[in-house]
């Protein structure tokens, strides 16, 4: 057995033991990447059946309200304008189709690995307006902030950003306050924590008296995090712990936080299905109005809507499982998605479509002697 398999096997056995002692528990995976990584790594199959994982609002594409999507589509329809975006957003359907559909009809849509690629494109095409769709949580927001400052320094006047950035904690607090989903603890997003620090979650844990563990995305990391969480739940200790110490410090990355502070301010933001959550989004400060695409193009965001019958709203809140939705795997598939939970690769419905059907639990792997 490889080193990794041995380490995994040991952790799985410990998790089963703690789980037996503690009884059934429900834990929220705040981050969509954890949902998918647990499946992809094969580790999910080893979790005890009594250990339930509930998906949270941690998929930026899934929680982006339709108003933002439709505004992006309107921009793509403008001649002389290129919409630059991370790959995640390209297939989200709006009223007039998705960016991918529009690109097929001749709209200028550039898929980027980094926002800096969009700045370079703007520099190379001075006659074109380039608008970058900035979605993502605190992991990605510092990059947007730094990019705007870089564009300012370089004098790239034909570049602007449509901010769809959101903050994780206000959404988690809103969900907890609603009290609809009984939870015993939280698996905290590893890379958001790199920026905001593990201590950012302390107020929420204290207020709701639940334990939470910051963990990374490698299989051993996730199992360590789940084990620690199970132990804290069993001990009824509402502590915040961090097993991703290689990347996450208690205070996070203050330089990155300062960038966010400098360029953005907290604004009320509309979340799909969760409605408007106060101070949960990031909007450009007045000082950077020149780079705000919403101001530059006088955009207004229409009301949020879910396609008829779509349960994405409930799925995001952890109130429904993908299988509960009448469209799941019938009218709604990754190839022809109806709602964002299916179109986003880290959406809960997409994860369940790819890995959750025909999913089976495995017994804990046999341990090597010793």
């Amino acid at each position: 057995m490889s080193d990794l398999r041995e380490d995994i096997a040991r952790l799985v056995h410990s998790l089963h033991r703690v789980s037996r002692e503690a009884g059934p528990m429900a834990v929220m995976e705040v981050c969509g990447t954890h949902t998918v990584s647990l499946f992809r790594s094969g580790v999910k199959a080893f979790l005890p059946e009594s250990f339930r994982l509930v998906s949270g609002p941690g998929c930026p594409v899934c929680v982006t309200a339709q108003g933002y999507v439709d505004a992006a589509i309107e921009l793509a329809l403008k001649p002389g304008l290129t919409v630059a975006t991370y790959g995640d957003m390209v297939r989200v359907p709006g009223r007039k189709g998705s960016l991918e559909d529009l690109r097929a009809k001749g709209a200028s849509v550039l898929v980027c690995y980094s926002i800096r690629d969009a700045i370079r494109h703007a520099q190379a095409n001075p006659g074109q307006q380039v608008v970058f769709l900035a979605v993502g949580f605190e992991t990605t927001a510092p990059a947007t902030a730094a990019a705007v400052l870089e564009a300012e320094r370089l004098g790239v006047g034909n570049f602007s950003v449509l901010s769809g950035h959101k903050l994780v904690m206000p959404a988690v607090e809103a969900l907890l306050s609603a009290g609809d989903v009984p939870l015993d603890g939280f698996l905290l997003p590893g890379h958001v924590s790199v920026i905001v620090g593990s201590r950012a979650f302390v107020p929420v844990a204290e207020r709701f008296a639940k334990p939470a563990v910051v963990t990374g995305f490698e299989p051993e990391q996730m199992l360590r995090g789940l084990l620690r969480l199970a132990e804290l739940v069993a001990q009824r200790r509402p502590a915040i712990e961090n097993v991703y110490g290689v990347a996450v410090a208690e205070e996070g990355n203050p330089v990155a936080m300062a960038f966010i502070e400098r360029v953005f301010e907290p604004v009320d933001a509309e979340w799909r299905a969760l409605g408007v959550i106060p101070a949960s989004g990031l909007g450009f400060r007045e000082r950077f109005a020149a780079f705000d695409a919403a101001r530059r193009f006088a955009l207004t965001f229409g009301a949020d809507y879910d396609p008829p019958g779509c349960l994405c709203g409930n799925v995001i809140q952890g109130k429904a499982m993908p299988g509960d939705c009448p469209h799941f795997a019938r009218g709604c598939t990754p190839r022809r998605p109806i709602g964002p939970c299916m179109v986003s690769s880290e959406g809960t419905c997409a994860a369940w479509f790819k890995y959750g059907r025909n999913f089976r639990h495995l017994p804990p792997p046999v341990l090597a002697a010793g």
Partner: protein
């Protein structure tokens, strides 16, 4: 939320918000912004997300956490910082 992977800084250019590094990911090189980690230096390992380094990483800890990193490759570059696992040979 977040795809972030470890890479090694090869060389640095620019300053301030335009400070960038060529970061190596086991043989692929991407130009990465260092604006969020001003203390980063050539030879350092960083966690990279969407073209930005988010934090410094200790090379040995990184090898422990991201098991798919080529440890022989890392040991060659980092020197003695990455201890081989029991039974593993040094290159």
């Amino acid at each position: 939320m977040c795809l972030g992977i470890p890479g090694e800084i090869l060389r640095i250019s620019g300053d301030g918000v335009s400070r960038t590094a060529h970061v190596d990911f086991q043989g692929s090189q991407v130009e990465v912004s260092l604006s969020l980690v001003p203390e980063a230096a050539a030879g350092d390992w960083v966690l990279v997300h969407a073209g930005y380094a988010l934090t410094l990483l200790d090379a040995a800890e990184a090898a422990e956490t991201w098991r798919w990193l080529d440890k022989a490759e890392m040991a060659r570059e980092v020197g003695s910082a990455v201890p081989p696992r029991a039974g593993e040979e040094r290159p």
